[in-house]
Symmetry: C2
DNA sequence: TCACGATTATTAGTGTACTAACTAATTGAT
DNA sequence: ATCAATTAGTTAGTACACTAATAATCGTGA
């Protein structure tokens, strides 16, 4: 049992915990978001747009720490559902502005109930959630050394 | 009203941190696992098999907290790469035993270097990794209330 | 023994998520 | 004014991950 074996085991535990936790979160949200007609990534997009809109697809991708190529079809589905608008910006036609429809804006009222239902299902309190958020900080968001 | 807005924001932060952290972990491992010819999920499968093999596909899926339907094609790719064997168990032909080939067993030597390279890239130490692992425990692994 | 329900794995279909290659538009430099 | 470089999005192709439906096998009880 060398140091390397121990490290491999710790590595395994961390990765496993992180990946399964992310999967579980999606599974927990699924039944709660389903009545809203949203998947979990779509929910994150709507949260970002409720904070600020309209925004270019690129800015949105940057804030959500995802690739424009991933966001592009996702936003198209939201447009198909009538929650979101996709319009070329007049000053620069390369830019695609993503905005909210009245229907998309109205959805926020239903979304306000989501967090309480999540806390009820998981039995987690506000403090635990804050601790988790803070513990994840070193890994979260867009990681600079991954760009390029 | 304001309470609900705050909760929605906290909810957003936690989910966002968790999901992007999981994505980032995969991105960090990608270039390191690429010379081994493994994706990150495949790496987790090999880690589990190095601990114990052969094992049925169902047992493996249980330990990895994933669905058999997800694991099935993943294991087939590992078989195609010559790392893994897929054989029906004689006593019960419904069961598919997943074992290691000599090549799959040998791969472990190269994998022993992975954790140090990860720590070098991320700049994280053993203690930080342990803290993160422990912080994720309430969400990690197979969640009982999701079964069914 | 034969029919039935349970167990185990696979297939089909949807939805992210990534990289790489591509189109279209703008900017900058000759 | 034109051509090169850059920027913004999209498309193509691969790989997870889930649900639902299917197939194959096993065990049991009539």
């Amino acid at each position: 049992m060398s140091d390397e074996e121990d490290l491999l085991k710790l590595d395994n535990q961390v990765c496993f915990a992180l990946v399964t936790a992310a999967r579980n979160v999606v599974s927990i949200y699924r039944p709660i978001l389903e009545p809203l007609g949203l998947t979990h990534p779509q929910y994150l997009v709507m949260l970002a747009l409720w904070e600020q809109s309209p925004r270019s697809l690129g800015e949105l991708a940057e804030e959500l720490a995802m690739e424009p190529a991933t966001l592009s079809p996702l936003v198209k589905r939201l447009e198909g559902q009538g929650r979101v608008t996709r319009t070329r910006r007049l000053e620069d036609e390369r830019v695609l502005d993503i905005g909210l429809t009245p229907q998309g804006r109205a959805l926020r009222q239903q979304a306000l109930e989501v967090p309480r239902r999540i806390m009820a299902v998981t039995g987690l309190g506000i403090e635990q959630l804050k601790d988790l958020r803070d513990g994840l900080q070193p890994f979260a968001g867009r990681m600079p050394h991954l760009a390029g």
